[in-house]
């Protein structure tokens, strides 16, 4: 869109002019502002989208709130900035947002050439295909030869799907629209035979379809998509804070601490729990935060299991299983280093 072109230009100008904006630690900057600016999706149900009352909901949104709770002790000292897939990294690079919680896949190229740093993964995903049920010819991804494929521009999925079709000597015709909502609209109207994206995103898109039951996600998962919050390269302290904000939610789940029972847990005699909740000080000072930082995260936002279930879990329209995102003890990949 013209607007986003203009926006990119503005970003480029900002990069050109700003002399010291990125030199100082992000934490001081954030504290001076009084709120954390978080880049989110804005159009993705379950990850980052305002509900009908205008309250932001989703896994990425809650990750952002956890960072605000860690820094300010108040999960509401936060400003969400919706960014499209094309705008997101430029938005982070130019300082428009302090942290990007926008279902972005961690890749080597983004970590190095784009000047980003990825924190702990908050959702392990993989790319899938959403197809209309009425097209009975499609049972597996291999049946998609010659299909018209709806895909978001500037994503890893755009590259993966091209790779997959090339690998299997199949032909495809991409339809590339920047706006998530416009792309979904085109797909539901039948402009494409298949919509491809991260499986979680497909579940979120299907949930807002006119008739969600008319669509199925194919069983094939063709890629690894570790979705992680990202910060600018070079500010290690800020990266540590973002990293441990996510890890604290995972650790809390492992320790059995929830937003409901946390005040009782304060009286716990287990050293691990005492250290985690700041009853025994040390962790907060090490990160440059208040000793109550982890307490504030869990108290105000919840542990990882809680935010997963309320954003994308079984009782939500997305109905996603924990799968890879279960704790390591339960056969998943969520694993936190010791908090000491």
């Amino acid at each position: 869109m013209k607007l986003s072109k203009l926006w990119l230009l503005v970003m480029a100008v900002v990069v050109a002019f700003s002399g010291v904006a990125f030199a100082g630690p992000t934490l001081d900057n954030v504290k001076a502002k009084g709120f954390v600016q978080v880049g989110v999706n804005g159009e993705l149900f379950g990850f980052g989208k305002p509900d009908e009352k205008g309250v932001w909901r989703g896994l990425d949104v809650d990750t952002g709130r956890a960072i605000a709770a860690a820094v300010f002790g108040d999960a509401d000292k936060i400003k969400f900035i919706p960014l499209t897939s094309v705008q997101r990294f430029t938005g982070l690079q130019s300082g428009e947002v302090d942290v990007l919680c926008r279902n972005a896949t961690q890749t080597l190229g983004r970590d190095t050439e784009l000047g980003l740093d990825f924190a702990q993964v908050n959702y392990y995903d993989g790319q899938g295909f959403l197809v209309p049920k009425k097209n009975k010819k499609i049972k597996r991804a291999k049946d998609l030869n010659g299909a018209t494929v709806c895909v978001l521009p500037g994503t890893t999925t755009e590259l993966n799907v091209a790779d997959y079709f090339r690998e299997n000597k199949m032909k495809m015709k991409p339809v590339v629209i920047e706006s998530n909502a416009e792309l979904a609209k085109a797909f539901f109207a039948g402009r494409c035979d298949v919509l491809t994206s991260d499986a979680s995103q497909l579940a979120g898109t299907r949930a807002v379809a006119p008739k969600p039951d008319d669509y199925i996600i194919l069983p094939d998962i063709i890629s690894k998509e570790p979705l992680a919050p990202a910060v600018r390269h070079g500010d290690n302290q800020w990266k540590d804070i973002v990293n441990y904000a996510v890890l604290a939610m995972i650790e809390a789940e492992e320790l059995g601490i929830t937003s409901k029972n946390i005040d009782e847990q304060l009286k716990s005699t287990i050293p691990k729990v005492q250290r985690f909740l700041g009853v025994t000080p040390g962790n907060g000072k090490a990160l440059g935060l208040d000793e109550k930082w982890a307490y504030n995260i869990v108290k105000q936002v919840g542990n990882y299991g809680e935010i997963f279930e309320r954003s994308v879990g079984k009782d939500t329209p997305l109905k996603l299983e924990r799968g890879l995102n279960a704790l390591w003890k339960n056969g998943g990949l969520m694993y936190s280093p010791p908090f000491r």
Binding site: K2, K5, L8, L9, Q93, L114, E182, G190, H233
Partner: protein, 462 residues
């Protein structure tokens, strides 16, 4: 005009007390054309002032000094002329200073950008252009696959922009001219319909129109399996418009050559016919004969080659149609949107151009016995075009630039491909500069051509 005012108001006052000022003014004015507006304003606006100045220039201090002490005065005047008060040198100095400041600012920006990118460890430079793009592009005029480098993907995008801009401009001019003439029609209904069209189309933002046409394609038209077939071999579905095209045959290049040969023959025939008419006054049936040559030659070639008639008819195969020519909904929506929108502006330009010609011209042309067609082609159009071309150029540029709205509806134009490239490589500054350079080239080339055409059409004074 502030200059004239100050000059006028100060001349009489100065003439009373300080003689040197107005005289140095007038002497500079006499010596240099650049300053002439000042004294000419003085001369024109105040008779007294001019007299005072003339008198003063005769009895100036300078001349007295020259007589009294020539050495000092020459030194004095030489100094002033060579350095500070010589307007030419001063102008150059100012220009150098401004250029220097702009240059320094540019250097600072460039340096700062590179420094910032380095600090954030973001890759810089155009090296990414040769890396594998590894994304597909929806439609392309040249063969392209995900294994090709970014530069080829960008070329595909640029060609798509040229395609939509070129076809769009041709259709816009045809439709716009038609509407402009309809707007002037004596038929009440035709003229009012054209007026309503122009007003409505001009007032709706182009982006909304594009969304409308795009959703028209995918919402209203059925899936390929249930495609509409309004004509034999033409299919309309939400995958676009597919129609049968003649299958490739070796005779076609020869037909194209025959057509070009026909065009050349027509060109020389017209020159000969004009010369003959100037000499003898006889009119040669140029138009009919031109048409016959331009159609007849390729047709004869086609017949000589055995009249190949094989058509590539689109057939439903798997998900989509195979064979034939496919016009995607994105391209169609973009083209229709741009043409309908811009044609409304062109119509107004054409109307203005025609109305700019005095009624007397037409009456005179008819009085000397020209046919209506000749009145149009020999009297009205050559004059109207002079008024029409410059604003038409800007509308053509508008259409080309508006084609970048393709991003919104998923047509892979240059901006769309470039912004994907920016995102995959993370090199926004390089990408944005490429976009700017490419659009600048498109616009300059269009302007260059139109300016050449404008010069050709301009009034030649004898």
């Amino acid at each position: 005009m502030p200059f004239g005012k100050t000059a006028v108001s100060c001349i009489p006052r100065l003439s009373d007390k300080r003689h040197r000022w107005p005289c140095s003014f007038s002497s500079i004015a006499d010596g240099n054309g650049e300053w002439s507006p000042l004294p000419s304003a003085v001369f024109m606006s105040s008779h007294d002032g001019s007299q005072a100045c003339n008198d003063l220039s005769l009895n100036s201090d300078q001349r007295k000094m020259k007589k009294g002490d020539p050495v000092i005065s020459t030194e004095h005047t030489a100094q002033r002329a060579a350095w500070f008060n010589d307007p030419k040198i001063r102008a150059i100095l100012y220009q150098i200073a401004v250029l220097g400041i702009v240059g320094l600012l540019g250097y600072y920006l460039f340096n700062n950008t590179v420094e910032n990118l380095k600090r954030q460890s973001i890759a810089t430079g155009f090296g990414f252009l040769n890396k594998e793009a590894s994304f597909e592009v929806g439609e392309s005029l040249i063969p392209y696959s995900a294994a090709d480098p970014y530069i080829r993907a960008l070329l595909v995008g640029a060609l798509n922009t040229i395609k939509v801009a070129f076809v769009g401009i041709v259709l816009t001019i045809i439709l716009g001219t038609f509407l402009g003439i309809a707007r002037l029609s004596k038929n009440w209904l035709v003229s009012k319909l054209a007026a309503v069209y122009i007003e409505v189309m001009q007032d709706i933002p182009i982006l909304l129109q594009l969304f409308f046409w795009y959703s028209f394609f995918y919402d209203i038209l059925p899936s390929p399996a249930e495609a509409l077939e309004p004509l034999n071999g033409v299919f309309m579905s939400n995958r676009g418009l597919v129609f049968a095209v003649p299958e490739w045959h070796p005779a076609y290049p020869y037909m194209a050559m025959a057509f070009i040969a026909g065009c050349i023959a027509v060109y020389f025939m017209r020159r000969w016919a004009r010369k003959r008419q100037e000499k003898t006054g006889q009119i040669f049936p140029v138009f009919t004969l031109s048409l016959a040559i331009m159609i007849g030659l390729p047709l004869t070639t086609w017949l000589l080659a055995g009249a190949p008639l094989n058509m590539s008819v689109p057939e439903l195969e798997g998900f989509n149609f195979k064979g034939g020519l496919n016009m995607s909904p994105e391209f169609a929506a973009l083209l229709i949107g741009l043409v309908l929108y811009t044609a409304a502006f062109v119509a107004e330009i054409v109307r203005a151009g025609i109305q700019a010609i005095g009624k007397g011209q037409v009456e005179a042309a008819m009085a000397i016995g020209l046919k209506p067609g000749q009145v149009l082609s020999l009297v009205i159009l050559p004059q109207a075009l002079r008024v029409i071309i410059p604003p038409l150029t800007s509308q053509m540029l508008n259409l080309t630039k508006n084609s970048s709205l393709a991003v919104a509806i998923g047509f892979p134009d240059f901006v769309s491909v470039a912004s994907t490239t920016i995102n995959q490589t993370g090199q926004a500054i390089e990408g944005i500069s490429l976009i700017m350079v490419v659009y600048l080239c498109f616009s300059l080339l269009t302007s260059l051509f139109m300016n050449w055409y404008n010069k050709k059409m301009a009034l030649v004074e004898r």
